[in-house]
């Protein structure tokens, strides 16, 4: 069930091209991650919509292969 951090990062970047992505492996087990995603594309969107954009970028892996991804989204200050 484990997933590589680099793959998570590249999928998010692919889906949200301008995104700044930072992934933390919370337990060092390749299964519990935190993702911080900053993108101007989140502007004007609710948190639910922002998180959904990231889940969409993960192409169905969220909730399946990727069980534990704590997600935090933000908008760049100058956006």
């Amino acid at each position: 069930m484990a997933m590589d951090a680099a793959l998570i990062e590249s999928l998010i970047r692919e889906g949200i091209p301008d995104a700044e992505v930072r992934i933390e492996d919370l337990r060092g087990d390749g299964d519990h991650y935190a993702a911080y995603v900053e993108s101007a594309a989140f502007k004007g969107k609710t948190r639910v919509q922002q998180h959904k954009m990231v889940y969409d970028a993960l192409q169905g892996r969220m909730g399946g292969e990727l069980h534990a991804l704590a997600l935090q989204t933000s908008i760049p200050k100058d956006a």
Binding site: R47, V48, H51, K52, Y55, M62, G63, G64, A68
Partner: protein, 112 residues
């Protein structure tokens, strides 16, 4: 999704102000994310109905497609999807959660 599952979700979120779809029960959460949301709601003194998706596979999949949201827990307030654990936690920390609950007429009594 089976229509009867959608009907059941609809009736649960319409007849209860605050509903949490979770893994395990409020007393015995079976997952850290579910547990975190229970803690927030308990701390705010909010009465909520916890629904254990682990005892019903059709509900476990059904709630995901009902909300178009891939993960559990899922919090509903007055029939409206609020978000999962990360969103609830963030809204709690910024005070938005309390504000939203009060504005929707849900009783909040913060425990000291």
């Amino acid at each position: 999704m089976d229509n009867s599952v959608a009907e059941r979700i609809k009736s649960d979120i319409e007849s209860n102000d605050v509903v949490l779809y979770m893994k395990g029960t409020p007393v015995f959460p079976q997952c850290g994310f579910s547990s975190a949301v229970v803690q927030v709601l308990t701390h705010l003194g909010v009465k909520f109905k916890g629904i254990d998706v682990l005892v019903d596979p059709s509900l476990r999949e059904g709630i995901k497609s009902f909300s178009s949201w891939p993960t559990i827990p899922q919090l509903y307030v007055k029939g409206e999807f609020v978000g999962g654990c990360d969103i609830v936690r963030e809204m709690y920390q910024t005070g938005e959660l309390m504000e939203m609950l009060s504005s929707k007429g849900v009783d909040v009594q913060v425990k000291a």
